[in-house]
Subunit: 114 residues, 2 copies
């Protein structure tokens, strides 16, 4: 019976799909990561840091955002290890944590610019 065989193969295939799914926890973390990229304010901040490290006040002035808003967003970026920071006197300078971040943004940009 051809129909039966097809259905069996299909069930086999579905099992394979399930087997290769990463663990729920990992998929959850992955979603959390992309969620962080999923806000235009944070994207703006990340792009501003493509060139150079920036302090909170510079970011706020540059992008026309409130100090509070920038600080809140930087905390989120910090938590998800997208930015690192160093203190210099009263100022705190933030920069992209690694080149990886640029890659992810660039990949997304390619898809958007099609």
């Amino acid at each position: 019976m051809e129909e039966k065989e097809y259905l069996e193969d299909h069930e086999e295939l579905l099992k394979t799909v399930l087997d290769r799914q990463p663990a729920d926890e990992v998929l959850y973390d992955l979603a959390e990561l992309f969620k962080v990229f999923g806000d235009s304010t944070r994207i703006k901040i990340l792009y501003a840091m493509f060139e150079t490290e920036l302090c909170v006040n510079d970011i706020a002035r540059l992008l026309n955002l409130s100090q509070s808003s920038v600080s809140h967003q930087l905390r989120i970026l910090k938590t998800s290890k997208l930015v690192k920071f160093r203190r210099e006197g009263k100022s705190v300078f933030y920069s992209l944590d690694d080149e990886h971040i640029k890659l992810i943004l660039s990949m997304g940009m390619e898809h958007v610019e099609e």
Copy 2:
């Protein structure tokens, strides 16, 4: 005056940063794209399609999701051109729109798995 020169250079730098920022609209679209990746249900669905095209019902059974939920999420994935689909009788088969999608997910995965 060294201090004054430093400040001037800094202002120059900030201007450069602003100049190189992509247009707001583009950054907005980019955020919208990542927002789509920013949900674990959608991530699960996308990962399931790494191997093969799947119909709505298969996805729902496989991932323990309601038909309605899957259908709603597929609409979002369709709108942002992350998946394509073809009709075959009563069923609709969905698959990843291009290899690009896998790349973006893999990039994110690398960051998560560190």
